[in-house]
């Protein structure tokens, strides 16, 4: 492996700058959308908006007690989500944390199936067994949302090991939050991935908050991408509010991994628009930080930029927004119409290989 290469992004892409909002010149190839296909840009805008609308409906479903458990939303992280997913092929594999509704959609799962999972229905991505934190779909390559902080990192590393073992050409992307870089599994896995030169890109969504803990209160090195150097791994930071910047950086690192260049760490700096989960009013948050997050809203800014660049006009934008809303609504309708799992299926998924003397006892059943 080459020597450490921790590159920080050029300042046009720096967080500080584009965080100020639409006034800043954003830098996809020099301030415009030069070289980008307008359809694709509209498509990004649509997908980001769809995720926004979807999450709003999820929050609503939670309030209506249609959704239970914990429910963590991607509000504010839509540019990161879409940018990252556009760097992956359909056959590439994704492991995420519990904040994964948007990823599930952007990786190609029908929004209805994602909502149905939140509703705990048999049509859901995990047949109602997983809920918000545990979406899964083999066909789309989403190998799971995971609720244990850091739990997905060794798994993703192992999936990359399997690809390498079989000389496959897939790449694994492993998403995680900023707070997650402090847990042991992060360290053990990045070391293993680098040591064995595995095709996996680790992505840290640095929304600058754990639940209420700021990144500088939890990470002694708050410039998280620099941690890659402890494993001689390339590390980069990108503006997570800039969908193209995210896409480009991720594409580069994913293709590097695909071509035998080994693992990398990509940090996407973004903002969490709301609380840690639906039930968190985020009272601990400073007004300034809330305001900053609002200003950084990647969808509002992208919309304004696309209009300014003539890629979108108000009508098309509104049309796309209506479409996204309709899709989110349709997802809810699909979920609501889907069947609940039957209690008789309770013992269907304890083991993949049937086994003698497996317990199938309900709480009121005697042992003999």
């Amino acid at each position: 492996m080459a020597t450490t290469a921790t590159r920080s992004k050029p300042s046009t892409r720096s967080t500080a700058k584009s965080r100020r909002g639409s006034g800043a010149v954003r830098g996809s190839g020099g301030g415009s959308f030069a070289g980008e296909s307008p359809e694709l840009l509209q498509d990004y805008f649509h997908e980001m908006t769809l995720i926004r609308r979807f999450e709003e409906r999820a929050a609503q479903g939670y309030t209506q007690a249609k959704i239970g458990g914990y429910c963590h939303l991607n509000l504010g992280e839509e540019a990161t989500v879409v940018g990252l997913m556009r760097a992956l092929r359909k056959t590439d594999l994704l492991f995420t944390n519990y904040r994964e509704h948007g990823y599930a959609i952007a990786k190609g799962i029908e929004p209805g199936r994602v909502m149905a999972e939140l509703y705990g229905r048999t049509t859901g991505t995990s047949k109602g067994w997983g809920g918000s934190m545990h979406m899964f779909d083999v066909e789309s390559g989403l190998l799971g949302g995971y609720g244990i902080v850091g739990g997905q990192i060794p798994l993703a590393t192992g999936a990359a090991l399997a690809i390498d073992y079989r000389s496959g050409d897939q790449v694994v992307m492993c998403q995680m939050g900023d707070g997650t870089t402090n847990i042991g599994a992060f360290h053990e896995s990045l070391n293993i991935a680098a040591l064995w030169n595995l095709p996996v890109v680790f992505v840290v969504i640095n929304n600058q908050l754990g639940m209420g803990t700021t990144v500088d209160k939890s990470s002694a090195e708050p410039e998280l991408f620099k941690r890659a150097s402890a494993y001689k791994m390339p590390g980069e930071r990108v503006d997570g509010n800039d969908v193209l910047a995210v896409r480009d950086a991720a594409t580069r690192l994913v293709e590097q991994a695909r071509n035998g260049g080994g693992p990398a760490l990509l940090e996407c700096v973004s903002e969490r628009l709301k609380g840690h989960s639906v039930v968190d009013p985020a009272k601990y948050r400073s007004e300034e930080s809330v305001e900053r997050a609002k200003q950084a809203d990647p969808i509002a800014n992208f919309r304004a930029q696309l209009i300014e660049a003539g890629v979108l006009d108000e009508d098309t934008a509104a049309e796309i927004e209506r479409k996204a809303q309709a899709e989110a609504d349709a997802a809810v309708a699909f979920a609501d119409d889907s069947p609940h799992p039957d209690p008789s299926t309770l013992f269907d998924y304890t083991y993949a290989t049937p086994v003698a003397n497996d317990s199938r006892r309900l709480p009121a059943d005697p042992v003999f």
Binding site: N182, I183, G210, Y284, R361, L362, V367
Partner: protein, 331 residues
């Protein structure tokens, strides 16, 4: 005497002990700025400052181990592990270090620390966030494990745990935090290692701990009111040490027993209770000890499945009825 919630009892006790003893401090994830995932520590950062209320990175092994090290030097850390599920990451520090350090070094240093953590399912949190794995601690010599079911016991046992010189796993339960009960104005530390008969009766013994001790008590009251069944209820309160004598004394009186537990049946806490009853009340038992426990599956998210899998007042009532039928004591 005031009626307060289980949450309030925990909060008040932490606060009082911090006021009483400078060596007591709190450490855990999101206990300060966020005021605790379940708000047990609300207001304490503001009152005591960052030194006494320490927010940690997400690093269960690191901060639990740090608490062990601090305790070795005589501080009295009270660790909050956000839920017992996450404690698995810290298990090596708890089982191989906290529990071993006193014995392994021939009694030269003790580890006076408390690890507070809630277990429990029923909140649709799915397979990894709904477990009842207190067994992992109750099994380990060198640890003490308490599991109060009422606000008063929560207070008395938390006092005892903080003042104890050994590592104590203090089991809470998500479903108990909002339950209410009377708490005396002055509470003495409870004696760790002692069960309590929370309802006297002669027809059957129901044994539980944590949430299921409360459910057991409610079921017993209901059976009495509605069917005239007079059940004795034993709240274990301490899982290690286990107060076998109190259990056995009760069963010697009633002749039959049902164990109510939130964990999985096979190898669960109830297995030891049942085995101990057989050990100590063999000649008094009129029927096998029934165990009401969770179905042995990774707990599903969907409500109908989750409900089917978890023990409840209903399943406990069924087991009690069937046991009374078996011994011919159903009225």
């Amino acid at each position: 005497m005031a009626v307060i919630t289980y949450r309030q009892a925990l909060h008040d006790t932490l606060r009082e002990e911090m006021l009483r003893d400078e060596d007591v401090f709190l450490i855990g994830e999101e206990i300060g700025v966020f005021e605790g995932s379940y708000k047990i520590t609300a207001g304490l950062l503001k009152e005591f400052g960052e030194k006494r209320v320490r927010d940690t990175p997400i690093a269960e092994e690191g901060f639990v181990g740090a608490a062990v090290g601090a305790a070795m030097l005589g501080l009295r850390p009270v660790v909050e592990l956000m839920t017992i599920n996450f404690s698995l990451i810290a298990l090596d520090q708890i089982v191989n270090h906290a529990a071993k350090i006193y014995g392994m070094f021939g009694g030269q240093t003790s580890v006076p620390m408390v690890m507070r953590t809630p277990g429990g399912g029923g909140q649709q949190l799915g397979a990894t966030h709904s477990q009842n794995i207190e067994l992992y601690y109750a099994f380990v010599p060198g640890l003490k494990v308490v599991a109060p079911s009422t606000p008063a016991d929560a207070k008395a046992l938390l006092l005892a745990s903080i003042r104890d010189n050994d590592p104590v796993l203090f089991l809470e339960n998500l479903a108990l935090y909002n339950t209410k009960g009377e708490v005396p104005d002055v509470v003495e530390p409870a004696e760790i290692g002692k069960a309590k008969v929370t309802r006297e009766g002669t027809d059957i013994t129901i044994i539980g701990y944590s949430r299921m001790a409360l459910v057991a008590h409610q079921v017993a009251e209901k059976l009495h009111a509605e069917e005239g069944i007079n059940a004795e209820v034993v709240d274990l309160r301490s899982l290690r040490p286990l107060d076998r004598q109190t259990i056995v004394d009760s069963v010697r009186k009633t002749g039959c027993a049902v164990v109510a537990e939130d964990d999985w049946l096979t190898y669960g806490i109830g297995a030891e209770i049942a085995a101990s009853i057989s050990d100590g009340a063999f000649d008094y038992l009129d029927a096998p000890v029934r165990r009401v426990a969770a179905a042995e599956v990774p707990l599903p998210y969907a409500k109908p499945l989750e409900r089917a899998a978890l023990p409840s007042a209903e399943s406990l009532t069924t087991a009690i009825h069937q046991t009374l039928d078996a011994v011919g004591r159903r009225r």
